[in-house]
């Protein structure tokens, strides 16, 4: 039997008109005074989110942990939407549900009752308490509130059971920084409160990946395995936010995986800490170094050849393990692919935007491919960003076709307006917020970084390591080809 259907398929593309410039069908030239973000108070299309979501991300990477967000409902719900859209996975995040009374009297009652309700409904393995702008402005004394919450819990469920559930407090006043810093603060908060004793030293290494996707974390694990090194990945979202569909499930649903609390406690015994992203996780590594003298290797994020080399060399140096032939082969295959595709990648002008560390990594890789980074923008302002980018440029500058421009903490409006003034661009590397820019300028976009919510599968495809770089390279080349030769009759490879 043939199914007959009426094809009313959503909104046709020509009607999907999302007005970008209000009330102006014709293009209005911008006042050049207003383009640089530093000249303005107003921010147009921010290129960063606020702190709490970075901390929630971190908590979701711990085994059976639930973030508890001390704020109004929206902060939680918006973050859950964001996680759902990116990972296509459920994200269980509890909210203190501030209403007007909390705004007047503070969030004491909410956290005390809230922690209790969360525990009796979910019995989590750990609670990560994440503050927000509202609780920070009101000056909630979270340390003493949490003490009270614990006391209340003890009375109800007994001391022993209460002690089984660690509570980690992460202060993330939204206005004080971006999601990147939220993650960074979480890394420190977790280590400070859990990794407290260095007693039985181990051969393991600590890895704090930063806001990398499950595919990336798996690739890092692969590198460790090949190196024959055992490691603890702090905030391991590779299973929690990429879980198999395997019904029937226990209720409440907890995703598999996540870093076990016991392993986090052992991180003080490790041999070294690798924070792959200095801006997201660097604080955690530095804390362990200061407190216990555990050597910290902070960055660079292993995107591209040189950065992956550096990661493996450091790993090899600290553990005394050789870099095995298998990894040398992976490297060889990547370099081979770079040589094969060079005629397509070389001398391409590329614009890169996103979170600082990933942007630094992408910039170096783009340079390795013979491209010219014409504009590089970090949504989160950083003290070190410009310096790092400059040092990459120094190495490759003689190949550049145009003078690159670096934006440290600007918005997407500034970035877009700048790109519009350039005579030529071939490619944009960045996250989903760049779709608009890419459409407007008619330049292909390769999606990398956080967040990617408008396509499937990116969270599973690594960009780190040699294999990740190879996949990314193919993505770049194919995107360029799609754009120039959309049809195979015009170009036989």
């Amino acid at each position: 039997m043939r199914l007959r259907e009426i094809p009313v398929d959503g909104i046709p593309y020509d009607r999907l008109c999302v007005e970008k410039i209000p009330a102006a069908p014709e293009y209005i030239a911008r006042d050049p005074e207003l383009v640089p973000a530093s000249n303005r108070s107003v921010v147009v299309n921010p290129n960063r989110i606020c702190m709490p979501i970075g901390a929630m991300w971190a908590v979701l990477g711990v085994h059976r942990a639930i973030p508890f967000v001390q704020g109004a409902q929206g902060c939680t719900t918006y973050a859950r939407y964001t996680f759902c859209r990116i990972f296509k996975e459920p994200a269980t995040i509890a909210t203190a549900s501030f209403h007007e009374d909390a705004a007047v009297f503070g969030g004491r009652k909410n956290v005390i009752e809230g922690i209790r309700n969360l525990v009796v409904r979910y019995w989590p393995g750990l609670i990560g308490v994440v503050t927000t702008c509202s609780s920070e402005i009101m000056g909630d004394d979270m340390v003493s509130f949490l003490k009270e919450a614990r006391a209340r819990l003890s009375r109800e469920i007994g001391r022993e059971k209460t002690e089984e559930i660690p509570i980690v407090l992460i202060n993330t006043p939204s206005f004080a920084g971006s999601h990147v810093e939220g993650y960074d603060r979480a890394s420190k908060a977790f280590l400070e409160s859990l990794a407290t004793t260095r007693d039985v030293l181990s051969e393991r290494v600590n890895i704090i990946p930063g806001m990398l996707y499950p595919g990336d974390i798996r690739e890092i694990r692969h590198l460790l395995e090949e190196m024959n090194v055992e490691g603890t990945v702090l905030f391991d979202i590779s299973d929690t936010l990429d879980a198999p569909l395997n019904p029937p499930q226990e209720i409440p649903y907890y995703p598999p995986g996540g870093t076990p609390v016991s392993e986090i406690r052992q991180m003080a015994n490790a041999r070294a800490t690798f924070a792959l992203q200095p801006h997201a996780g660097g604080s955690g590594a530095r804390y362990l170094e200061r407190k216990f003298g555990i050597p910290a290797f902070i960055g660079p994020v292993p995107i591209g050849v040189a950065a992956t080399d550096a990661f493996l060399q450091n790993l090899s140096r600290i553990t005394g393990r050789e870099i095995p032939a298998s990894l040398r082969d992976e490297r060889g295959r990547l370099v081979d692919a770079m040589a094969d595709t060079l005629h397509h990648t070389m001398m391409k002008r590329v614009a890169i935007f996103g979170d600082p560390d990933v942007v630094i990594g992408m910039t170096r890789f783009a340079c390795e491919l013979g491209m010219t980074p014409v504009a590089v923008s970090s949504g989160t302002p950083s003290k070190t960003f410009e310096g790092e980018i400059e040092s990459i440029f120094r190495e490759y500058r003689e190949l550049f076709l145009a003078e690159p421009r670096v934006f440290n903490g600007g918005d997407l409006f500034e970035f877009e307006e700048y790109l519009k003034t350039l005579p030529q661009i071939d490619l944009i590397l960045g996250h989903s917020k760049g779709v608009d820019i890419s459409r407007e300028l008619e330049i292909p976009l390769v999606r990398v970084g956080f967040p990617i919510y408008d396509r499937f599968g990116y969270q599973k495809k690594p960009v780190v390591g040699y294999r990740g770089a190879e996949l990314l390279l193919y993505e770049i080349v194919n995107e360029l080809l799609d754009y120039r030769y959309p049809d195979d009759r015009t170009q036989q490879l």
Partner: protein, 448 residues
């Protein structure tokens, strides 16, 4: 509900089972119980939902980067947002001047905008700048309305508070501000219609067959010019009570515009909507349109076969629960649960009247209760929002996102789409394949 005893005491009265004849309704409109994984959002979210799609104004979010970033996406579309992106120093020293400058700059950057909407978020609400005063001062400077939307996230109990705040803003500053007064003979407004995936086009097609013209749809098609003219409509068609009723009542009072509450979801509802609208205008040919619709809906027959007797659970925004319950009943499905984040008694009353005894009515269920519900009732289909989707999926239950993400569900044709999507989801092979344990077992027995 599965072991009502397992509910927190505060939650018990929010969950009822429809008995025979007696219409008991869940308690609603209450504060959210802290510490649960609430499916509710904040007032700012609600205000953005209502106002986000207004095309010819500047949307300026007065708050930290996060609110602006999140608020840029409304109903799965992204819009340009302006923000003051408050930082630590602004919190300490006050952000009033920054806001004032930001408004001026935003207008300079988008000079064509007809007005500026300034959304106050939690932060703005707490630092207590004189938002109204700043907006008034800025309005004089930029020579167009600068309107405060006072929607800090903690006000009210859910996004519903934001809907009300937004409705107030529209009434006070935009609706009926046009000069022309004479009514448009065939003009109607749609209140509470957001044009999700082309719904508005489908509704418009039907209304056009009645000879009617949509002056303004709040807020699927609500440019400031259209809102300014909205008072000239002969009739206000309320499509969503939650977001439309308040506008309708105020407009009735102010301009004397009569109102009709209808729904365009499902065959019966659409037909009766057309009948009552047709009757109001004395239009001819309603019967033919409905007949044509009946023929079109006939296309759903093959899908209905797949859906007959299947259990469905509904969980979404307030006032559509009732009419959608009826639409799903028309698909031949058995509605086993109806819930909403922010329904009012009327909504639950509506919904309760349209379902069979034994159906669970649930107000503001947190995630855990939805899980427990799924375990106990094993619906064949769960209808709700993106947040709930991936959880249901993990538990092996097919999920239809509503407001929809693939095709229009409104009108007769939309009903066929609804049937098609529901049938596709329910019968999909993936749910069989997902039960891999059973699969391994059959494999073993086959081999053994």
């Amino acid at each position: 509900m599965p072991g009502v005893e397992r509910l927190l005491p505060e939650r018990r009265r929010h969950v009822v089972t429809k008995g025979d004849g007696t219409a008991v309704l869940p308690e609603c409109g209450r504060p959210t119980v802290p510490g649960l994984v609430s499916e509710r959002a904040c007032a700012f979210y609600g205000a953005r939902w209502m106002l986000g799609a207004i095309p010819d104004v500047i949307h300026l979010v007065h708050g930290p980067a996060g609110c602006a970033y999140f608020g840029g996406i409304v109903r799965r579309k992204s819009y340009r947002v302006f923000s003051t992106q408050l930082e630590e120093s602004d919190i300490v020293f006050g952000a009033g001047e920054k806001l004032y400058r930001a408004i001026l700059e935003a207008v300079a950057a988008a000079p064509g905008a007809r007005a500026v909407l300034v959304y106050a978020t939690c932060t703005a609400g707490l630092i207590g700048d004189d938002l109204d005063g700043i907006c008034r001062r800025a309005a004089r400077a930029v020579g167009r309305p600068v309107v405060p939307v006072n929607s800090p996230g903690f006000c009210g109990y859910s996004q519903a508070a934001g809907h009300d705040i937004a409705a107030g803003v529209l009434l006070e500053h935009f609706i009926g501000t046009g000069k022309a007064q004479e009514p448009v003979a065939n003009g109607v407004n749609l209140l509470g219609e957001f044009d999700v995936m082309g719904d508005l086009g489908e509704i418009e097609r039907l209304l056009q067959q009645l000879g009617l013209r949509i002056l303004c749809a709040f807020s699927g098609r609500a440019a400031t010019t259209a809102m300014a003219d909205a008072h000239r409509a002969r009739l206000n068609i309320v499509h969503c009570r939650r977001t439309g009723q308040r506008l309708a009542d105020a407009m009735q009072e102010r301009f004397g515009t009569p109102q009709l509450k209808v729904s365009f979801f499902g065959f019966e509802e659409t037909a009766s909507a057309l009948h009552s609208i047709g009757k109001f205008f004395g239009s001819a040919g309603v019967e033919e349109i409905v007949e044509q619709g009946r023929r079109e809906v006939g296309n759903a027959a093959p899908f209905l076969k797949k859906l007959a007797g299947k259990r469905v659970a509904l969980f979404f925004g307030a006032s559509r629960i009732g009419t959608m319950a009826r639409a799903f009943a028309e698909l031949g499905m058995e509605v086993v649960m109806i819930g909403s984040q922010f329904g009012c008694l009327e909504d639950y009353g509506d919904a309760g009247a349209r379902v069979r005894a034994g159906t669970v009515l649930i107000d503001d269920p947190p995630e855990k209760e939805l899980e427990e519900f799924i375990r106990k009732y094993r619906p064949h289909l769960f209808v709700g929002g993106t947040k709930e989707k991936y959880l249901a999926t993990k538990l092996g239950v097919p999920f239809l996102v509503f407001p929809q993400e693939m095709s229009s569900f409104a009108g007769f044709r939309g009903f066929v789409n609804l049937a098609r999507e529901a049938a596709g989801l329910v019968g999909a092979p993936v749910w069989r394949l997902a039960r891999c344990e059973r699969y391994y077992r059959t494999l073993q027995t086959a081999e053994g």
